[in-house]
């Protein structure tokens, strides 16, 4: 039987979380090795396990993969969550890159200088309600289907719903004017694999807190 994928990252969301979501949604059980100390990180680097000296790193199918985008592409294709042809794939890629851009802004918020935080939050909220959510709501409205692309579950739905949860954590009122997105969120959350992931004790990681930011700073030296 094939070994379970092994995820290498610190014990928090960061850039590994979309990978956890996607594996979970695909029904793939995985294991995690948490980088808890600077020494853990040095060891991984010295082992030659990290192609560009960075994590996330995922051991899967005999490979040690880095670059979260590459990892996600591989998992999505392997588990049939990447559309049925190159044109659907292009649409999915376009949507998920938008999701990734907003996700990146939210991801970096905890490590931005305190003086800049308020301005950043305002910008995130503005982009959310004026750029990203309207675009996705429009896509769903335009075809009236249950999923973003090809009338079938794809990674685009998973990544978007992950983002909607983050947006909600930031400010629940941000989702108010987006009924189709709220419905998508509910629908995807009810998929058995996703439901399991979202339950307490599931592999989903909690929101970032001050303590874990400090810890990451020490380990990754930034």
């Amino acid at each position: 039987m094939a070994a379970k994928p092994m995820l290498h990252y610190f014990n928090g969301r960061g850039r590994m979380e979309p990978i956890r979501w996607l594996l979970a949604a695909a029904g793939v059980e995985f294991e995690e090795t948490f980088i808890d100390t600077p020494e853990d990180f040095e060891k991984l680097k010295n082992d030659g396990s990290l192609m560009f000296q960075q994590v996330p790193m995922v051991e899967i199918d005999g490979m040690k993969l880095v670059q979260s985008r590459a990892i996600l592409n591989y998992i999505a294709a392997k588990h049939n969550l990447y559309g049925k042809d190159t044109k659907e794939r292009a649409l999915i890629d376009m949507y998920i890159e938008g999701v990734a851009d907003l996700n990146e802004m939210i991801l970096l918020l905890p490590v931005s200088p305190p003086a800049e935080k308020d301005a950043k939050i305002t910008l995130i909220k503005d982009r959310t309600t004026n750029r990203y959510l309207p675009a996705f709501e429009k896509v769903l409205k335009s075809h009236g289907e249950d999923y973003l692309v090809g009338n079938r579950l794809s990674r685009a739905d998973i990544h978007l719903v992950e983002l909607l949860y983050l947006v909600e954590e930031l400010d629940p009122s941000l989702l108010t004017n987006f009924p189709l997105l709220k419905a998508l969120k509910a629908r995807i959350s009810n998929l058995p694999t996703v439901k399991k992931f979202l339950q307490p004790g599931g592999a989903r990681k909690p929101p970032v807190d001050e303590k874990s930011v400090e810890k990451s700073r020490k380990i990754f030296k930034f």
Binding site: M51, F52, Q53, D61, M63, L65, V66, Q67, R69, A70, I71, N73, Y74, A77, K78, T86, K87, R89, A90, L91, D93, M94, Y95, I96, E97, G98, D101, R131, Y132, A135
Partner: protein, 247 residues
Amino acid sequence: MAAKPKLCYFRGRGRMESIRWLLAAAGVEFEEEFIETREQYEKLQKDGRLLFGQVPLVEMDGMVLTQTKAILSYLAAKYDLYGKDLKERVRVDMYADGTLDLMMMIALAAFKTPGEKEENLALVVKKAKTCYFPAFEKILKDHGEDFLVGNKFSWADVQLLEAILMVEELDASVLSDFPLLKVVCEQPHKAQEAMNRDKDFSKICLQAFKTRISSIPTIKKFLQPGSQRKLPPDSHYVKTVRKVLQL
């Protein structure tokens, strides 16, 4: 006959350059519309062609595509530059993503204050020398083949060449300091081992890779003056972008 892809962006490298490189490498002729004014940009947004209100924009095959990586992946797949199977594809993705990260740092540095810009660019050169280029050199050394993945020309090779040339613009000596030569000079017993494995050193270093990929006819053409390859960002480019995007 199919219409040529149409690119819409500023007259400069930015996030569109890797797309130009890939199209050129694939031997695909393309047209360009250059954004010079705020009005042009607002019209694009009003027209609804920009999914997230942003460029790059590429119209091809009946699609209106934005998001650089989505466009690059589509092109790589369409022109058979994405490896032969999923395992090769993930390697192409890993390598392409790494080089894109490096090149984006350079593109963004153009918009920083002079002091910050210098600092950021110095950091890019350092990362290239200590992290990225050694990683690619090791890949080439380990399999001894002409191309990064699957012994066949791919998107990964195009982007690595693009990145090498971009970093060389910042520091012309960046490729001269690579570990393989150091091993040969400083640890002769290891050099013997390497030599026994592959007598032809010139095949397996980045310098040779650069020469080899640059000589591919489509790439050679793109590297000549008068091609659609764009110049490094200058103050005029930065000014135009700031004005159009109201940064």
